[in-house]
Symmetry: C2
Subunit: 188 residues, 2 copies
DNA sequence: GTCTATAATACGATAGAC
DNA sequence: GTCTATCGTATTATAGAC
């Protein structure tokens, strides 16, 4: 049945999504994913021919989630500054995950950029979704000339905060730096 | 001969050091290292029993290099602000490597923190060398209360800059953000 | 669509001759 | 101290029965 198959496929993508984040892409095996998804290893190849295919599906899945989230934020907040500050609060909302595994976007891109440039160019598109959305908010705030610049700055600072928070397992640092980012947005 | 052995050992560490940076730790095999070092695979285990041992040796090697560099900076610059600005220029000096492979400290920690926490705690010590040194400079600049805070801020911003520079392969972004960091140090 | 069995390869690691 | 040969395991991936 197509329905049953589609449900299995989605469970594989969900399992791979979590494992790629928690273990890294290269350190996650087909067996790991099959076990977590509750799908027999052999049956696995019915849905995905190669590991690359799974990664591509996971990235598309994540991008879809990001798009839904950004649309949700746009509905909830109409002030561009409020929208930018909502972005900063992801850091606090996903505190425990960042402490343990870092940022899902950043760590995946870092891993793939070493030896899998082709796939990293797909993973980079997740950053692009945020970059474009943030840029639009800075533009609406009156920053016509440096909206792109500010969006990349905000992305870079968020990534640096996530990375150090993870390296030092320091929740106090995360809180302090998130507050600092928020104050920076207020001062713009 | 002990001399010949020591030279071989050093060549293995040098080769592993470069490969762990360029390919990542888990994506580098014994064969890769042996080939790059010009050492037969079997002979390999005479010097290092396990892959963990090589990583430990590489981290110690890197830490030694960092210590020498920091001592060199202290000899070259006596003004704490000049020393801090010297730190920022590493980003520019290692531009091509960052564009292609990211920051050696950051990317290794990110990789190990997922599934090799034990080894990550060793890799974190590389950050500690910089953190302690930067903290001392901020303290000398008159920041008695927030020297540690500022050191971690500078580390985080450098990491964020390296990560985005790598993800987007954007040398202009690197230059712009290094200038911004330098201006931030001037304004302190 | 689902499963078992298994091929084919690469890996970390060891034994032992020289 | 150096080398060849090889073990055992885990991996990606396939073939084929049901």
């Amino acid at each position: 049945m197509a329905e049953k198959g589609e449900a299995n496929r989605q469970r594989i993508v969900d399992a791979a999504n979590a494992l790629f984040y928690q273990k890294g892409y290269n350190q996650t095996s087909f067996s790991d994913i099959a076990e977590a998804a509750g799908v027999a290893r052999g049956n696995f190849y019915y849905y995905f021919k190669t590991k690359d295919d799974i990664l591509a599906a996971v990235i598309i899945h994540r991008m879809h989630g990001i798009e839904l989230m950004l649309e949700d934020w746009e509905r909830q907040f109409h002030d561009p500054r409020a929208r930018l500050k909502r972005y900063v609060t992801i850091l606090l909302n996903s505190r425990d995950d960042i402490l343990r595994y870092g940022c899902p976007l950043g760590t995946l891109n870092v891993e793939l950029s070493k030896t899998q440039l082709q796939q990293q160019s797909q993973a980079r598109e997740m950053f692009e979704l945020f970059r474009i959305w943030l840029e639009r908010q800075f533009h609406a705030l009156g920053h016509q000339d440096d909206a792109r610049d500010l969006a990349l700055q905000l992305l870079a600072r968020s990534q640096g905060i996530s990375l150090l928070t993870n390296v030092y397992s320091d929740p106090a640092f995360l809180q302090r730096e998130a507050d600092r980012l928020s104050a920076w947005l207020d001062a713009l």
